[in-house]
Symmetry: D5
Subunit: 117 residues, 10 copies
């Protein structure tokens, strides 16, 4: 079973259209590259969303995160990019993306971005 990194965010129909509810997904295995030095950065990505008509397929989400492995990405920009891609894919009622980056130079940085329909 070999799968490939891909930014295609597969979706499925929300099984409960008559009621708002919340989905939390924590992903402790995010890694990309520092655009300045080329060195690896590591982060935990936390997603919380209220689905509208569509939900994110979990295996596709995993491959999506994998696709950042060889990309250069600034902390602030990549967190906003993940939010934008998720909004485009599932147009949720509400979504928050939080990226907790590993310590660099003694500083612990976390970026939190939200979108409401």
């Amino acid at each position: 079973m070999t799968t490939k990194p891909s930014k295609d965010l597969e979706t499925f129909e929300n099984p409960q259209s008559g009621r708002d509810y919340t989905i939390n997904i924590d992903i402790p295995e995010f890694t990309c590259l520092c655009p300045k030095t080329g060195q690896p950065d590591f982060a935990t990505i936390r997603i919380e969303y209220v689905p509208n008509k569509l939900c994110i397929e979990l295996k596709a989400l995993k491959l999506y995160m994998w696709a950042f492995r060889d990309e250069g990405a600034f902390h602030e920009a990549v967190t906003n990019e993940i939010l934008d891609d998720l909004v485009k894919a599932i147009d949720p009622t509400f979504i928050r993306v939080q990226a907790e980056f590993n310590v660099r130079g003694g500083l612990y940085t976390t970026i939190t971005v939200e979108h409401t329909q």
Copy 2:
């Protein structure tokens, strides 16, 4: 003493009809099957409700959770199904059901569903 899994949610009369109060029940031993692969999934189910005329009998609730052991169940669908069954059984003033699924493919998923009368 052999008892059987069953989706019948036994109830008893709320001993305090004159006042709203809250009941929390945490169930760390929920397991069902993944509908795609047939493999076991594990979750902790957390229920919080404000009873109206009826309360859920705890032993029946345990047998109810047991009844999912051999069923295929998507994360989002099964959490909504548990909420629907509890609402039908006790018609509570308020209820929240939360399912924290064990990690799969490096992703930790939690579904939270609420109902208010």
Copy 3:
């Protein structure tokens, strides 16, 4: 020094009548009997109240909790009963009683009851 279990809730005058403030008391040593099986149940009782004219005397509160040791008591009913007894004794501005029962059959149950003047 032998003292006896007793449901008499001794009180003393609130030393600060000009200002609302909050008193929290946690009691990890509550035990009663299951009315169905006769077996012991254990709980932590947490009380939070804003006193009005009277405060609960702590040693009397301890003896009050002891008085449940040989009584059969349903989770939901006993938590409401403790609240009712405290309201009757000190008529507080606000009070919350929370009973966190030890795990039974894999289920962790907590009952939370509030009263406002």
Copy 4:
């Protein structure tokens, strides 16, 4: 299903006679009475043993602990008594009994007793 407190320690045959192994049982719900004041004491009992020909049946062990509920018992004496009763019932290769008593007068007391065949 009503069962009664009893100091009869039911046993069953060790399913593995050809090999030494270890069984740990933690019991956070032990309570007895202080022989001086008559007031309730609470403890966590921890048992570790290497079975010989017999193992302790768990439900009987629970009823055994229950049987101390209305007995006066000094910390040091009751821990040795539990060890003696277990040794008499199953004659284990090794056994340790540890009683961690709840704080009294600002002092946290733990008694640890061992027996080797």
Copy 5:
């Protein structure tokens, strides 16, 4: 360097008069005497305040807490007394005093008092 316990609460001018901000001070080393039995009581005192024109000098606050060491003090009364003394000394925009007393007779008691200008 010998200093003495003293209820004189030395102050200094708030270095930032144009903006509200918050100061938290936790003091885990408070001890006084039980007025009934004469035995020592221990507590952690937590102070949160928004300064107005004056701030509390920290070394003086330490000596102030020391001054309770040989005084009899009821839980509810002493917490209100500390608040009153601080209000008199610095007239803050907001202040909360919280006293978490060590366990006595299996009961954990915390008193929380607030004052707003």
Copy 6:
């Protein structure tokens, strides 16, 4: 990708034959049935071994654990059975199997079994 529960423990050749080293595998998702009541039991299985010529393939180990899902199994017997099966499959220099069962009747039970070549 549908796989099936199976007690076949697939192995692979130890990549390092010239040196002893240790492999730890923790499996928090073990479930079987109580042989007396038919009700589900849950445990965390912890394996530590020093490989000899063979190592356990991880996916096969997961399917092996799955194979207990519908079997009745006493705590003491099943822990010894898992050890026996692993010894038969890989004949390790050393192995320890530990089963931490979820609380039942207020008792927390852990079984620890070791085998040395």
Copy 7:
């Protein structure tokens, strides 16, 4: 690579101008000198801000914190000074600076300052 302590707070353009979001930076390695005794003080600085047109460059922020190493600084004053410098540099929509100082004389002090545009 030798860099120097400097109070110049380098900035970069906010990569996401169309949406408010939050940046948290925790810095556990802050040290300055006590203005009274000349002895070292240690603190953890926590910054939370909603960027407007500019973001703080992280390496410059590290050098900025380093610049306090040989300066005398009162707790309340230095926390306000850091806030003022950050507001001047990036004019954020919102910012909070929190300084948790290490224990001195048994007292744990934390200063929290906020600014809203």
Copy 8:
């Protein structure tokens, strides 16, 4: 019920003379005075001993600790003094006394003293 601080260490006969066992007592409420500055010091005292013919009575031990409240005591000397007093009172098979003092000047100090018969 007023009791007084006293260095008299009351004892009682070891209820189990035929077997060695261990008693642990943790006392988080020890306070004395610094002999240099006169200011209060705070410590947690941990005692572990194997009784011989006598055990320490717990209430007397509490009053013994209270007796240090107004005494000047160096860290190293007071820990040895407590050990000496306990050895004189109960002549134990083994005893260890450990004093964990609260932080002073950024230093956390613990003294550990043992005695074997």
Copy 9:
């Protein structure tokens, strides 16, 4: 400052040749690829060694770990390979390498390898 991943393990002379001592290095940011599926694996590498004539340079060690980022590597093999490379580079008196891999399929795997001169 751009540096590159490299398996060259730079060293420096042990500053203390007359005495054995221990160096621990924990590296929570190790990632490689699964040789079967090509998907990323993540681990924490823990190194403990007693230096002989040489020590490992820390920045070189970081680049060494980075060099596994695009390599396929079995758990057991890669842990032994890291140990072998470190032994070849610094010939230490003692060394232990421990790799704690992130959960896969509900299994948590840790490999521990040691070498003594």
Copy 10:
């Protein structure tokens, strides 16, 4: 009260010459400079020793640690230097010095050095 950093390690006579015992001192506020980059390094220093004829005076030890604030110091060398200075000052029966350095480049380094008479 202004004191100065100083490498003079003041001592006092061991109050208990007839018995070996252990003194632990943890110092979370150690900082020095990186000899390569000039940037600050931070560490927690942990000292454990069995005194012989002399003990280390705590206030002098604090000033000793302060004396490294403006010195360049390699991790391995500075830990050995602290041990050497302590051995020269008090000639202890046993001493261990442990330096846990803050994370740098994703690596957490700890150095442990011991000396026995």
